[in-house]
């Protein structure tokens, strides 16, 4: 297969996956939880600047561009809220898949097979699900993923002053949108250290200066601080703990919880356990019984991570003397992003927080899979194991659509009782405009037929976890 043909096939494969994700995404109405209140707040905000200024005072988080983006899209919507927020989400999905194609650098037939496998890992890993099945009303986790990939592609480009500027801009946008945005610096720095000079030394210095500036702004100027135990619930052991319980258990020794969260986040990406801090593998047998989906997820993740580990050990001698090829860079950036991502989620664990790590994990799989395809002839038993693992990933990738379908069903149901929910949140609309907005979104959700209703009758949630 010629290089151009291989590239074309990779784009077609990615287009297939992207089309599926976008179709499932569009079947989900605007959410009640997570989306409605931010949209109502955007409606009552005087302007983009006003919304940003008001958000600057918030404790524990510095995310002014998150609010700004919600406000900008609201004002650009012209009243069609579903369209504008979903269009932005679709654009992010397309950008993510397109950048993934570029980052995977498909050139040969072997690359194509490996890339097909990597696509199932990208969309099948549970960290990806959170980036596409919900929004707030913008999915900022997916935005950070896109920007991380963008910086990686810039790092591997031919370079020039504009790559430095773009990388710095991407870092600023990401860092002021979510804390995970700081990962862009990790991507750029590790890529540079391993020989990618698309972003120059000057660019790295600029990004480092921006990182320092962010820290000064956050901890010095705004004194925003860090999230405490009272901010959110998080998983621990075999259950989820609410803030009061977290305070009772870890109030005087929070470092223990933070360490658990970091290790949990690492395990979540590498072994699919625990999930959001909860060891479902241990919790399920006591509750509804161990799901086949949980067993499958752990098995395929474990074997895939082992393959990456074996590949890395083979490359270790070269790494020790700082000899890096492009494949080494991909795996090392994936490793660094995974560790840094886990550290950043010390406060609480959630699958989607680890989405940047998940995407780079898929890129690392692409490297190892290519090695498996192009390497020496494997024994039949080995081929069988490889086939079972990749089939497992394909099932997980297909499961993404089942889970999004289930989400569409759940979100539509939420709209039936939206008034009671808003009342419980003490956020009932106070103006005619706000009531009209809620009414419009409710009617839109109820009128939307959520895909194939019979799919809900399947016991899919036991298989797709």
């Amino acid at each position: 297969m010629k290089s151009r043909s291989a590239r074309l096939v990779s784009w077609v494969l990615a287009a297939g996956f992207a089309a599926g994700v976008c179709a499932s995404l569009l079947s989900i109405p605007v959410q009640v939880t997570d989306s409605l209140i931010p949209i109502l707040q955007a409606q009552s905000a005087p302007s983009v600047t006003g919304a940003v200024v008001a958000s600057a005072d918030s404790a524990a988080y510095l995310r002014p561009l998150r609010i700004a983006q919600i406000q900008v899209l609201f004002e650009a919507s012209g009243g069609d809220y579903f369209f504008v927020y979903k269009a932005f989400h679709v654009a992010l999905v397309l950008a993510c898949l397109a950048l993934f194609v570029v980052a995977a650098r498909v050139r040969t037939a072997g690359d194509v097979w490996a890339f097909a496998c990597a696509l199932t890992v990208l969309t099948g890993l549970h960290t990806f699900l959170g980036t596409v099945w919900e929004a707030y009303p913008i999915n900022h986790f997916l935005e950070v993923v896109v920007l991380c990939l963008c910086v990686y592609v810039l790092a591997e480009s031919r370079g020039g002053w504009w790559t430095d500027v773009l990388a710095a801009l991407a870092f600023m946008v990401a860092a002021l949108t979510l804390e995970s945005g700081l990962l862009l610096w990790v991507v750029a720095a590790v890529a540079w250290l391993t020989g990618a000079k698309g972003i120059s030394r000057r660019g790295i210095v600029l990004m480092t200066a921006l990182l320092v500036g962010y820290l000064v702004l956050r901890f010095g100027y705004y004194a925003t601080g860090l999230p405490t135990l009272v901010e959110r619930s998080t998983g621990f052991g075999t259950m989820k703990l609410d803030p009061p319980e977290l305070l009772r258990r870890f109030g005087d020794r929070p470092m223990m919880l933070y360490a658990y969260n970091v290790v949990s986040s690492l395990g979540s990406v590498l072994f699919s356990q625990p999930r959001a801090g909860v060891w479902t593998l241990l919790a399920e047998p006591k509750a509804q019984g161990l799901s086949p989906g949980t067993v499958m997820n752990v098995a395929v993740s474990l074997l895939t991570t082992m393959a990456i580990a074996v590949w890395s050990m083979r490359r270790w001698p070269a790494w020790r003397v700082r000899q890096f090829q492009r494949d080494d860079r991909v795996v090392l950036v994936a490793l660094a992003v995974t560790v840094a991502n886990a550290v950043l989620s010390y406060g609480y664990t959630k699958d989607e927080i680890m989405s940047p790590a998940g995407v780079f994990y898929a890129l690392a799989v692409c490297v190892v899979a290519r090695d498996l395809v192009m390497g020496p002839r494997r024994a039949w038993a080995m081929l069988l194991v490889i086939g079972i693992v990749t089939a497992g990933w394909a099932v997980r990738a297909a499961g993404l659509h089942y889970q999004m379908h289930q989400m569409a069903h759940d979100v539509r149901n939420e709209w039936v009782t939206v008034d009671a929910w808003l009342e419980a949140q003490r956020a009932s609309p106070a103006t005619d405009e706000a009531r009209a907005l809620v009414h419009q979104l409710r009617e839109d959700a109820l009128a939307r037929v959520a895909g194939n209703p019979w799919g809900l009758a399947l016991q899919g949630t036991r298989v797709f976890r």
Partner: protein
């Protein structure tokens, strides 16, 4: 660079075959849907009883708006329950699938709960040891629960 021709096809299939199948399946499925063909969906509209069995409250509201009666029995096709010998009313379907919130929604939207259907619903819930539903039926009042279920005919369901 020109691709290496020695890529082992069998190894390639083992590694990337499932991914290619997923991509083709997605494109095929979307193509069929664009052409108006839905191969995995049964013909005909979902009934209110099916929406109740599926706990699809949004579809219940949608169907009620289009004029569906909350008291008419209908066959329940491919859900987790299946009517075997008789069509089910939406309340019976919701009871069988153990969706108390759906029963509340149905009653709030005109489903009648009285001496004619309470015994059957009561005995259905009792046969499932569904204490939430029994409590809900008791709280609704309006009619006395039956003293026993031997003489009460209620739908037989295959799960």
């Amino acid at each position: 660079m020109i691709g290496k021709p020695n890529a082992n096809a069998l190894q390639g299939l083992a590694v990337g075959g499932p991914g290619v199948i997923v991509a083709v399946a997605i494109l095929l499925s979307l193509g069929l849907q664009a052409a108006g063909v839905f191969p995995f969906e049964p013909a005909g509209q979902m009934t209110l009883s099916e929406a109740a069995a599926l706990e699809s409250e949004a579809d219940i509201v949608r169907l009620l708006r289009t004029g569906a009666s909350p008291n008419d029995p209908a066959w329940v096709r491919r859900t987790r329950i299946r009517a075997v010998h008789a069509a089910l009313t939406p309340l019976e379907a919701a009871m069988t699938a153990r969706h108390v919130s759906v029963m509340t929604l149905l009653v709030d939207n005109g489903a009648v709960l009285d001496a004619r259907n309470l015994p059957a619903l009561w005995c259905l819930a009792a046969s499932q040891r569904n204490h939430d539903a029994l409590g809900w039926l008791r709280s609704r009042g309006g009619a006395e629960p039956p003293s026993g279920c031997d003489a009460v005919r209620f739908p037989r369901i295959r799960r």
